[in-house]
Amino acid sequence: MRKGTYTMLSIQGLKAKVADRDILHGLDLEVRAGEVHAIMGPNGSGKSTLAGVLAGRETYAVTAGKVTFEGEDLLALAPEKRAAKGIFLAFQYPVEIPGVGNMYFLRTAFNALRRARGEEELDAMDFLALARERMKLVKMDPSFANRSVNEGFSGGEKKRNEILQMAVLEPKLAILDEVDSGLDIDALRVVADGVNALRSAERAMIVVTHYQRLLDYIRPDHVHVMANGRIVTSGGPELALELEKRGYGWIEKEPPARPAAAEARP
């Protein structure tokens, strides 16, 4: 399959709020199979809300708009159904779950997805072999397999654990929410290498980040800039470099370029 052969995700006029605060004010975006989209923007622009809404977090209420994933109404689905369809969110703040073993959790998730897709489950031994192999991808110490999910992990270990989960669960659409936050340069490289290894023509990625730095390691096909709950300008990788030079201030002053959705539509 060639890159960009079909529209995997289509977002139209998406509005959402948290508690009583409107965060997304009509957002449009199209993502085709095989593409990597970077979403940048200042703090509070709605980047993480977009990520949460796509994954189905119930603390966000969608008030208007449409999201179609592989031709299906995504917003009607529970988070676990979205996961079964192939959506994966790498959390900005991975949650600690004391008392739940990392491998036990991952195997349960892996097999839940397989069951939902009508596929055969893997037994503990076969799964362990798969997980061990994927752990190498993110240079994770095997001792992390037996620890509780994210409990006592450093910032970098948590992010690596997210990428490990992604490598094992093999989503169609991965949404990486500030996967670079809190990482030193070595950890960033490991995480980015893991992400790059998972790029394929069948998989799309939305990389949410505040900083251009991450995009030196994960080269996007498209860059979008969010402000005030909308995508205000879109472009290629060069847009990220411009943001690095000029900061976000000019975005709100200058009239935005054509939104990405319009650009990407055939």
Binding site: V95, I97, G99, Y104, F105
Partner: protein, 435 residues
């Protein structure tokens, strides 16, 4: 007088006759029974006005016309490995009992038999550990017990085998009450692992008293697993007396019964003793599961630790009262207490009451606790990876409870407790091979 009081009083009156039986019990037992009888007739069943019973109503118990324990055959319950003593309706069941593998220096058998055959071994301890005054259920037990276990380890005996005491109660007809009584004497420097299990079916009261005396430097691990039937009333009094530098580690797993109360009372009566009393209660429906823990720091340099966790679903209630008493002379006391609760429904409630009474300055005491619900962020994290909401909730609930299950020492018992706990969790059947 309530129905239960009347039936217990009638039983006490009949039991009082033992004093004049020609082949009767030793005089110290007669005295114990008489004191119990006198105390119960005076105190009667405690009401909500009683400080120790503020959150637990005995109205349901008081309305039951309990008769004496019926004879019953041993039900085909899965029994733990030997060495084990099995009691059915408060009486020893010799067919189910198996004492093979009992190491030298360890004696384990029927208390009633020991009172007939070697009362001198029992007299210095019986009723001496369980000295709680005006304790209605302790008194009732003293007045009415028929049998129970006597476990006796000589000085320096290290018993590697886990000693199992199993109490089955089978009420096929009219409700009745059984009052098992156990005495465990662990000699100087001796070591033992002891498990008390309670199971049953039908409507009954099991009112158990266990006295454990630890000699100097003795070490005891004690697991108490209560899986009584859904109609049962369970009253348990565990009374521990510790010698110098002895170490007691106890765990109370409370799962069954419509109303179950366990009191664990430890006297740290000599220097350098350490006592861990932990517990887990998992309740649903209209169950009431109550724990009262009392630790008496009577001497210097003793350490106590309490961690109790509760999981409450339906309209169930959990009660935890933790009392730490540091006496004037007990310098360098180190005591901590934590009670955490997970509420799975809006109708479930918990009353948690830490009480520290500290009568000297040179101590380190802490207490803490939480009452919470399943966290939204954890639930979303699991669901975003493909786990159904029911499975995610079961996994998080298990994660909360599992810390206490892991503390159960004997592996075979830990596996059993794990199965019993997960079976009681909402959607617990979805959990497979939990770590």
């Amino acid at each position: 007088m309530t129905l239960a009081e009347k039936s217990f009083a009638d039983q006490l009156e009949r039991a009082a006759g033992v004093e004049w039986r020609p082949a009767g019990e030793p005089s110290f037992v007669c005295a114990l029974r008489a004191a119990g009888r006198e105390t119960f007739l005076r105190t009667k069943l405690p009401t909500l006005k009683h400080e120790d019973w503020r959150y637990t109503s005995l109205a349901g118990l008081a309305a039951q016309p309990f008769g004496p324990a019926a004879r019953a055959r041993v039900p085909a319950a899965d029994l733990p490995p030997a060495p084990r003593l099995v009691f059915v309706n408060g009486r020893l069941a010799p067919d189910a009992t198996d004492l093979s593998g009992l190491p030298a220096g360890v004696r384990m058998g029927s208390l009633a038999a020991a009172l007939r055959e070697r009362p001198a071994a029992v007299e210095p301890f019986m009723g001496q550990v369980a000295t709680t005054r005006d304790h209605a259920f302790g008194a009732l037990n003293a007045g009415l017990f028929e049998d129970g276990a006597l476990v006796d380890l000589g000085d320096g005996v290290a018993c590697a085998a886990t000693l199992h005491l199993v109490f089955l109660t089978v009420a096929s007809g009219a409700p009745f009450a059984a009052h098992p009584r156990n005495l465990v004497v662990v000699g100087k420097g001796a070591r033992a692992t002891l498990v008390e299990s309670y199971r049953g079916e039908g409507a009954y009261l099991v009112n158990a008293v266990t006295e454990i005396a630890l000699g100097e430097g003795a070490q005891v691990e004690h697991d108490r697993v209560q899986e009584d039937g859904p109609q049962a009333f369970h009253m348990g009094l565990l009374q521990i007396s510790q010698g110098a530098r002895s170490r007691f580690t106890g765990q109370s797993i409370a799962l069954g019964g419509q109303l179950a109360r366990v009191e664990a009372r430890a006297l740290l009566g000599a220097e350098g003793a350490s006592c861990d009393l932990h517990g887990l209660y998992v309740a649903g429906g209209k169950q009431v599961l109550d724990h009262l823990v009392y630790i008496d720091h009577a001497r210097p340099r003793c350490v106590s630790r309490e961690v109790f966790k509760g999981v409450l679903d339906g309209a169930s209630r959990g009660i935890f009262a933790g009392r730490v008493h540091v006496r004037e002379g007990a310098q360098k006391t180190d005591a901590s207490q934590v009670n955490s609760n997970l509420l799975l429904s809006e109708d479930a409630t918990v009353d948690t009451k830490p009480q520290l009474e500290i009568l000297n300055d040179d101590v380190k005491c802490s207490h803490g606790g939480t009452v919470g619900q399943i966290r939204e962020d954890q639930l979303f994290y699991l669901r975003s990876r493909g786990l159904s909401e029911a499975l995610a909730r079961a996994m998080l609930t298990w994660a909360f409870a599992s810390e206490m299950v892991q503390r159960v020492g004997p592996e075979e018992l830990r596996a059993r407790v794990r199965r019993a706990v997960t079976a009681r969790l909402p959607s617990g059947s979805l959990l497979r091979e939990v770590a």
